[in-house]
Subunit: 466 residues, 2 copies
């Protein structure tokens, strides 16, 4: 049953959101007066972001429909038009929040650097106090990396909205994240330029302790930047899945950050991981609000904007925080989905326009969607052999007729594969199971990163290998 | 005659654009290999921006119409649908160009700071050369201000596109530039914090040489940031006028920058004015391409996005370059238009939804549009007296019936006032005359700034008062 989306908030909703916002603003004001603890401020702003997104999706939904930003949910009995591209609201609220947050992480530096009555925490000698700022003390490099992250996220939002508006062709779409990563890479080039990687111990005799990748490092960063948003965008098609996978990845990144912040000794990467939290917490705020509406039965769609945006949030925190390899570990289901899709993306197997699971109107459950093979178009012998092998390995469902001709094969996406294994399933059940899988795989990835990495690297945040 | 907008570029157009782009890219490559002269690189990128905007407006026009971004030109015989919101294309091309430009102004610093074979210009002692960057030499503060400008411009683009899509109400619209100026002000707060102004000589005995405005300085900056984009947005309504006024203001700001760069001695504000040129030159590039299509008879509309965006470009260069008072001098026609509009904006005189000049289909000329007064609704005596006075001063056209009752008054915009003075005029003639007026007033403003300022301030770029 698809509930109609009323424009007004109910009394309970209004009161809850107002209380949450008031509490958050109070915490924020307190933070600004006190020692300016930025992590608390970031949490409070994330609460504000949740409330703002929750309310604005409700208020603006009908406006989006009126402007043509709408879509039909194919996996329901009653097909009605829902507002599309709600990720744009998330992105704009998010951006406003991280922009307003700018002064907080620099509060202590500002207090230390300004003349006047502000320097409560840090005592400066008088000759250092001057009109304006004492520029050399101020962590401009931190500020620049914060700003470059904002620019990349704004770029991806602009381009994502363009995509949702104009339905850009698939082969052009693919490069949207590439454009959005230009600011990140340009500022990395200007401001940091560290292009060395730590070499695993077994290879150190040959390559040395550090290896300078040079220009290749930029190619690597650009690849991560292109892959992450696109991979989230292709693991899509059922209610809630875009948002839940993003929330799981964000939560695992938060967990990873906490592992660095809660070490027994102050870790040298503390700043990078605080930076990461400042960007992830508001993202979680807007995402939970969006999930409220996008969960089964969905009352709004998220749009490509959200997928690109979520992917780019992960990219900026991991590149600027120098933990992009960890991000790759958390994207394993997405990587699998991409690799698994290659036969269809490369045209070896025919690829229909939409590959989302098929809704069976009689049972109300989802089944794997299929690509039909006609008698005229049959797979070539090696492809046929490979398809049959995949079927034997339960990595595909192949239907043959009595003469051994291919009738249909399930589409090559992780959603369809899951339904081959466990289907038919109701839409929300499928989303829950995939989200659980993403969580388990991600936790295992973090375990590998923090426990097994010591086998091949000299040191980690939790210890030094013997 | 409204020419149909074909999607394809003609052969001549393609060849011209390709030649221009090739020449610019060659210059750019040369710049990067040579001494990295950023001003030349900026000029070359502005040429690329022109070509890209020119081609993309042509290619994407029909896509915009299909997505509902379209409008009808009311001041033509043949009313056909034209693509609206083409300013979004300008904004996106512009942003991409200024982002790609980031490394150029910092080229010398990068060369000086990187280890490896790059340090041709600056010799560094070996102990300063290290893995990564020698952070203290690098002008991060310059980088941060450059980035904050980009963030503000991206914010105004996002919000402007939202406005064009959803037709936001006038009272909400007004605050769009306020939101977009938050990053500018936040970064100003974090990174510069200079809130003092120079006091004119006659007042110095009372207030001192410098006066610290403190928080009021932020209110002042926010006011400029709100006023400039909105003032350009309300001086609109005939083909080309939004773009030509923006081009004139940009050119005058460029002239002002040149006055600082060509001083007999190196001026302390050289960097601020180079910064300003880096933002203004690509703006001129995209604006000339837009003007090509938007000039009478218009084949595209610019949308609110362009007006906000143009106004914000002026705001960022003048606030970060510390010459916002000069900007105010260049906005005199816009300030006049705003003040003159107040009777209608404040509801003293009825305000119709649209106040653009009236197209007389018989003559093909524009005439002042009017607000009708009914016998029931007549102005109150003091208002009536003021309206008659304005009429006497030729600042309004008032039509009375034989009994002295108000029949109609011309609408309170500078376009209608100009038509009261010199109308009826053809649309392009009106645009030319207003642009000429903007140029003359702006040149006079710069003259005041650079010649007469010495009477009340101690020093200027061209001399020191005796």
């Amino acid at each position: 049953m698809t509930a109609a989306l009323s424009t007004a908030l109910s009394r309970t909703e209004s009161l809850s959101l107002l209380s949450l916002t008031a509490a958050c603003v109070a915490v924020l004001a307190n933070t600004f007066q006190g020692d300016g603890e930025p992590l608390i401020a970031s949490l409070a702003l994330s609460g504000v972001a949740f409330s703002a997104t929750f309310a604005m999706i409700r208020w603006l939904g009908p406006t989006f429909i009126k402007s043509g930003l709408k879509g039909v949910d194919m996996s329901k009995h009653h097909k009605k038009e829902l507002p599309e591209c709600m990720g744009a609201i998330c992105a704009i609220v998010y951006l406003l929040v991280v922009i307003v947050f700018i002064p907080f992480p620099f509060y202590k530096d500002i207090v230390a650097a300004t003349s006047g009555g502000g320097n409560r925490d840090v005592v400066l000698q008088t000759e250092h106090v001057q009109q304006g700022r004492f520029l050399h003390r101020f962590p401009h490099s931190k500020l620049a990396s914060y700003l470059s992250a904002i620019i990349s996220l704004q770029s991806i939002s602009l381009l994502g909205i363009g995509d949702d508006l104009f339905d850009i062709r698939w082969r052009h779409k693919f490069f949207i994240p590439a454009f959005a990563s230009i600011p990140l890479l340009a500022i990395y080039f200007v401001d940091f330029g560290v292009t060395s990687i730590v070499i695993p111990i077994p290879l150190q005799p040959y390559l040395g302790e550090l290896f300078n990748l040079g220009a290749l490092y930029y190619v690597y960063m650009a690849s991560v930047a292109i892959f992450s948003p696109n991979s989230i965008n292709i693991l899509a098609g059922i209610n809630g899945i875009e948002v839940t996978q993003s929330i799981v990845i964000a939560l695992l990144l938060v967990l990873n950050d906490c592992l660095y912040l809660l070490t027994p000794y102050p870790h040298p990467a503390t700043d990078s991981h605080l930076f990461s939290l400042y960007f992830l917490l508001p993202f979680l705020g807007v995402s939970f609000a969006l999930l409220w509406y996008n969960w089964y039965p969905a009352r709004v769609f998220v749009g490509d904007t959200y997928c690109y945006f979520a992917g780019m949030v992960f990219v900026v925190v991991s590149i600027l925080g120098h933990f992009s390899k960890t991000l790759v570990l958390l994207l394993i289901p997405q990587i699998f989905n991409f690799l698994y899709s290659i036969p269809q993306l490369a045209g070896i197997v025919p690829c229909p326009r939409h590959r989302l699971p098929r809704f069976n109107a009689r049972t109300g459950l989802l089944e794997p969607s299929v690509t039909p093979w006609t008698a005229e178009r049959q797979p070539k012998p090696p492809v046929a052999w490979a398809l049959k092998l995949l079927d034997r390995l339960r990595l595909l469902r192949v239907t043959l007729d009595e003469r051994g001709n291919f009738v249909e094969t399930s589409n090559f996406t992780i959603l369809n594969l899951w339904l081959v294994w466990r289907g038919p399933l109701r839409e929300d059940r499928l989303a829950v199971e995939l989200t659980a899988m993403q969580t388990v795989v991600g936790l295992f990835g973090l375990f590998v990163r923090h426990r097994l990495a010591l086998l091949i690297f000299k040191e980690d945040n939790w210890g030094i290998s013997s």
